[in-house]
């Protein structure tokens, strides 16, 4: 809401520095976003009010005239102008004279540009300065003619003193609908500063034949229209509204149209009540000898209306309409219809000031995508009592500014009166919520300053508060307490430490587990990323180039996506992760990343999807960053990723983790494995398939990727760990080399050795793999180190030899291994 200070001052005195006022308003919830000074750049001695003494033709140019302007200096100055709104022979108009050196907006430039006025000769005639348009003064975009001031503008006065103003731009939260008006803001300012609100009830002078014989109002849907008031102004002369009114409308952000429409807007800005003016003579469908009848009703199926903006609109049966005998003439509280629009020919005006249901009004303006100043105010909710105040104010202004005669009386159809709201407020309640003591007297003083009506209760701690009509938002005790707190100032409430009972403290093991996973991965050298939850099917389908798009119905889908690439809630993190890898490879030669995030899986028969957490890891590029300490150690591969996952499992205490060969379209055949913990698959890891790599525009190098279930990982984590004693006795190591057929996995060898060696085997390390001479084709040689240790004693060579022999026997028997140790 843009509030010109000069307008605000009509209702309340302001005698504190503006910054302080702005601060107080902001603290009280009326956030002053900016303070704009109109005419700030008008040089006081160079831009002044002038009066035209005479206008003559320019000797050498038909389009130009020479205006002689008196600005109180004693010597009138001649300026050349091309303004179409002054003509040779004119005199007496008040104008704005800018002298050489004045700073003005360049009127000829499409963009906003400041210029300094230079002395000029225009077609041989020296110009002492210029008479200014609104655009040149920065008041509006108007540059057709020069700005003509009111007749009583004081000649010689710096324009800054005459037209300068300050506009407070206030950001209003949705509850502050009452402050979408100058009077509403003035009431707040009065309460906050202790100044008095100057406000009298508007009256109108109805002198014409009674309105009741000239129009009837029927409200068919009283649930959506609690009150409808109307007046009739006959014999108006349509024309521009006075300059002061146009100026205020502009400063408040509205465009002047004509005196009738401007009055409705002016009164709306002043009181907050939107009004609508109909051309009375355009009302249709009145039977002969009958009175035109306005019916307020819901739209009929298939009904349409052409609104003021010339658009034909399809309505639905929840839209509230203003209708005459010929059909809709307006969408209630949103926009009027074209048929009954005020035009140059309008003579008689039917003025509407009504109260419409705010939620229905918002629904309609949302559905028709028709936000307007009117629906902004109706949508926040208006008091029905306001209708008649604004109606009288506007009718009288129309009479004053457009001539005409107001019909006697008002049509006031008021089927639904709001219940009076009375609230008993106990000082102890204030204490309970705010933590401060405020006396009943002080409570009364604060609430009365805001317009509440207060009466003492029998209980000395309690005040009985009647809510005034303009405070629809106040319904319950905490609403009143907020009013008290706002006026006292939140800063006056002392900060305290909580004295209420400390709740039972509970650990969030699931979150702790998640954070633990993050810490382990960071320690392993991976960097965390966070990607969007919303994705597109095209990106998802790149994970399986051999198949088409996935079935959209299996996803949670956004009905109103911002862009088509963020339309579905994801079910995997892998595609986003590959995109991150791709983007980073443009700058880096080594990318190791992970993400922990939810995926969204629709569940049959459930309204909401399941949101399990996933862990995604990616590694590609150089194994080590370029450094003098390491020779080129090649590129990251499957075993780097597997090492990280093994470490993770170990740190999480998932002792029984194992890896099984697996297949999946994302991964290269034979280069993927499933992580299995306690018999359950937790996820897959592997090197990305070359086709998938291509689909994500990744380079031809190993890109390692894994996606694991967090629940699976953390579920396998023992909640309690037990101390394992450390042996005091020496360990003995034996190496074992064996030649095997290629297809026997190291896991199988591992299993056979562990099984055969039994409980004394302390650790088993694979430390070498060899292929080539003398190992036969299709075979490989593996070298293991077996370490034996006992808790109670030193093992003898004999014992170990025995075990080794068992291991050897089993390897030969089960895997046809040739053991060569």
């Amino acid at each position: 809401m843009r509030v010109p200070l000069s307008w605000l001052r009509e209702y309340v005195d302001i005698d504190m520095p503006l910054n302080e006022l702005a601060d107080r308003m902001t603290y009280a919830g009326l956030e002053v976003e900016s303070i704009e000074n109109v005419g700030e750049h008008w040089d006081r001695d160079k831009i002044v009010v002038g009066q035209i003494v005479e206008v003559c033709r320019h000797p050498d140019a038909d389009r130009l005239t020479i205006a002689v302007v008196d600005s109180g200096t004693g010597t009138p100055e001649a300026v050349v102008t091309g303004a179409p709104n002054i003509h040779a022979g004119d005199h007496g108009q008040k104008v704005v004279l800018a002298r050489t050196g004045a700073t003005l907006v360049d009127g000829h430039s499409a963009e906003f540009r400041m210029i300094k006025l230079k002395p000029t000769k225009i077609r041989g005639v020296l110009s002492a300065g210029m008479v200014c348009s609104e655009k040149e003064l920065g008041l509006s975009d108007e540059h057709e003619g020069i700005l003509l001031l009111e007749d009583d503008a004081p000649v010689g006065t710096p324009l800054q003193d005459y037209l300068g103003d300050t506009i407070l731009d206030i950001d209003l939260t949705p509850n502050l609908g009452r402050c979408l008006s100058i009077i509403g803001v003035a009431r707040e300012v009065a309460a906050l500063t202790g100044a008095k609100l100057r406000l009298s009830e508007p009256r109108m002078q109805g002198t014409g034949p009674s309105i009741s014989d000239q129009v009837r109002i029927e409200i068919a849907d009283t649930d959506l229209c609690s009150r409808y008031t109307a007046s009739l102004v006959r014999g108006v002369q349509i024309g521009p509204s006075p300059a002061w009114m146009q100026r205020r409308l502009r400063m408040a952000g509205m465009r002047p149209i004509n005196n009738i429409v401007d009055v409705t807007n002016y009164v709306m800005l002043e009181w907050g009540q939107p009004l609508h003016a109909f051309d009375y003579d355009s009302l249709r469908g009145t039977p002969p000898d009958a009175v035109p009848t306005i019916v307020v009703r819901r739209a009929l199926p298939g009904e349409r209306i052409t609104t003021l903006d010339g658009v034909e609109r399809q309505l639905d049966p929840q839209v509230l309409l203003i209708t005459d005998g010929g059909g809709p003439i307006g969408i209630a509280g949103v926009m009027g219809g074209r048929e009954t629009e005020i035009s140059q020919e309008t003579r008689n005006v039917l003025l509407e000031s009504a109260n419409f249901d705010n939620l229905n009004n918002r629904r309609t303006s949302e559905m028709l995508k028709l936000p307007s100043e009117a629906s902004l105010r109706f949508g926040r909710g208006l008091p029905a009592e306001m209708s008649i105040l604004a109606l009288q104010r506007a009718s009288d202004m129309m009479r004053e500014l457009a001539g005409g005669q107001i019909a006697q009386g008002i049509v006031d159809n008021y089927p639904v009166h709001p219940a009076e709201r009375a609230i008993s407020l106990r000082a102890t309640e204030v204490k309970r919520l705010l933590g401060i003591d405020i006396s009943r007297a002080r409570l009364t003083e604060i609430l009365e300053s805001l317009g509440f009506i207060c009466a003492p209760d029998d209980d000395p701690m309690t005040v009985r508060v009647t809510v005034p009509f303009f405070r629809q938002d106040v319904e319950i005790i905490p609403d009143l307490i907020e009013e008290v707190a706002r006026v006292v100032g939140y800063d006056k409430i002392p900060n305290t430490l909580m004295s209420s009972e400390l709740p039972a403290q509970r650990r969030n093991l699931s979150l702790e587990g998640e954070e633990h996973v993050r810490d382990v991965l960071v320690a392993c050298g991976l960097s965390e990323v966070i990607t969007y939850s919303l994705t597109n099917l095209d990106s998802v389908s790149r994970l399986d180039p051999s198949r088409g798009l996935p079935d959209p119905s299996s996803f949670v889908r956004i009905a109103n996506p911002l862009t088509s690439d963020r339309e579905y809630l994801r079910q995997t993190l892998m595609n986003s992760m590959l995109e991150v890898v791709r983007a980073n490879l443009r700058f880096l030669d080594r990318v190791m990343t992970f993400e922990v995030a939810r995926v969204y899986l629709p569940q049959a028969g459930q309204e909401l999807p399941d949101e399990p957490r996933r862990l995604c890891l990616a590694m590609t590029g150089r194994r080590y960053p370029l450094s003098w300490t390491a020779a080129n150690e090649g590129l990251l591969d499957y075993y780097d990723l597997k090492g990280v996952i093994e470490t993770l499992c170990r740190r999480l205490g998932a002792a029984n983790a194992s890896f099984e060969p697996a297949e999946h379209p994302v991964y290269e055949r034979g280069r993927a494995a499933a992580l299995v913990i306690g018999g359950a698959r937790v996820g897959l890891l592997g090197e990305v398939h070359s086709q998938v790599r291509d689909a994500f525009d990744l380079p031809a190098q190993a890109v390692c990727l894994a996606e694991l279930s967090m629940e699976g990982l953390l579920g396998a984590t023992p909640s309690e760990r037990h101390f394992q004693p450390v042996s005091r006795f020496p360990a003995t190591s034996r190496d074992l080399a064996l030649v095997l057929e290629e297809q026997i996995s190291s896991q199988r060898v591992h299993d056979v050795i562990t099984e055969a060696a039994g409980r004394l085997l302390q650790s088993l390390e694979l430390f070498d793999i060899y292929r080539g001479q003398p190992v036969p084709e299709g075979h490989k040689s593996l070298a293991f180190r077996l370490t034996y240790q006992d808790m109670e004693r030193t093992l003898t060579d004999g014992e170990i030899d025995q075990i080794q022999a068992r291991v050897r026997r089993d390897l030969e028997r089960d895997l046809h291994a040739q053991v060569r140790s």
Partner: protein, 341 residues
Amino acid sequence: MLEKLHRLEQDAIEELRLVLTKEGLEPWRVKYLGRKGALTGLLREIGSLPAEQRPALGQESNRLKAALEQAYAIRLEAFAEEELRRTQQQAFDVTLPGRPALPGSLHVSTQILREIYTIFAGMGFQVVETPEVETDTTNFQLLNIPPYHPARDMWSTFHTTQTGVLLRTHTSPGQIHAMRRYCPEPIRVILPGKCYRYEQVTARHEHMFYQVEGLAVGRQVTMGDLKGVLASFARQMFGPDRRVRFRASYFPFTEPSAEMDIDCGLCEGQGCRVCKGSGWLEILGAGMVHPQVLQNGGYDPEIYSGFAFGMGSERVAMLKYGIDDIRHFFANDLRFLQQFG
């Protein structure tokens, strides 16, 4: 003559002791052992002596020559060794970059969340997580925001194709979940997580962001407590000297409602472009839980009161680290993320 020889030996040895550089050895050698050196001179003198004196002197001078040559050789070797040691020392350049340990980095959002958890944990608040896909009922209606309510303008919403199901626009529905879970126990929880808004992505707005909701419910929870807890949070997060202010505001689910600002760290409260001249930066919204919301959570508002607050953790990070554009957070450029390692 014999005496001459001995003096020569003494002089030479003494002088050799004083030679401190390898370069200094050569003049010494020339002086004593050279073709025109002192020893040669003496030998010549001996040659001119009577024959009977010569053998003894010859023997002695041979010994002397060998002794000097040996002394020279030892010294030369010492210098060479020293030189080698010095070059070796120089080759061990202590300023060379160390072998990199290669840890990764936590996302800056995670780090800020952890800081927030830690600070609030110190005040008895525990972390609870609730769903991101919500019903209109929980996200809005149970928070006092019926359909078409004017306050709905405060949250541009992503709706799903299933009527009444949406992406949560704030973490506030977590208040309902937490109250229903813990009622009638007292509550102090932090509800973090991703939220979504139908908003064009700009330097200040993202369509996805993290929010952290706080909720305290108990028998004597006051607005003074709300201010105390949040002021303490701000000082722990941003530094002990930072000032905060509370302004009246509006949320349908709190009454009274407030917003908390922190003094602008860039201009120290003097007003600048970042704080739009006000000297203050908004960091969170808060208020006393609305009685209807308490009731929706199962608590009797006549007995219980509570406060709630919500903050965007990216915004907290932006203020703390001077990050000027929220789009950095989810662009996942490692060159950005690794700054916060």
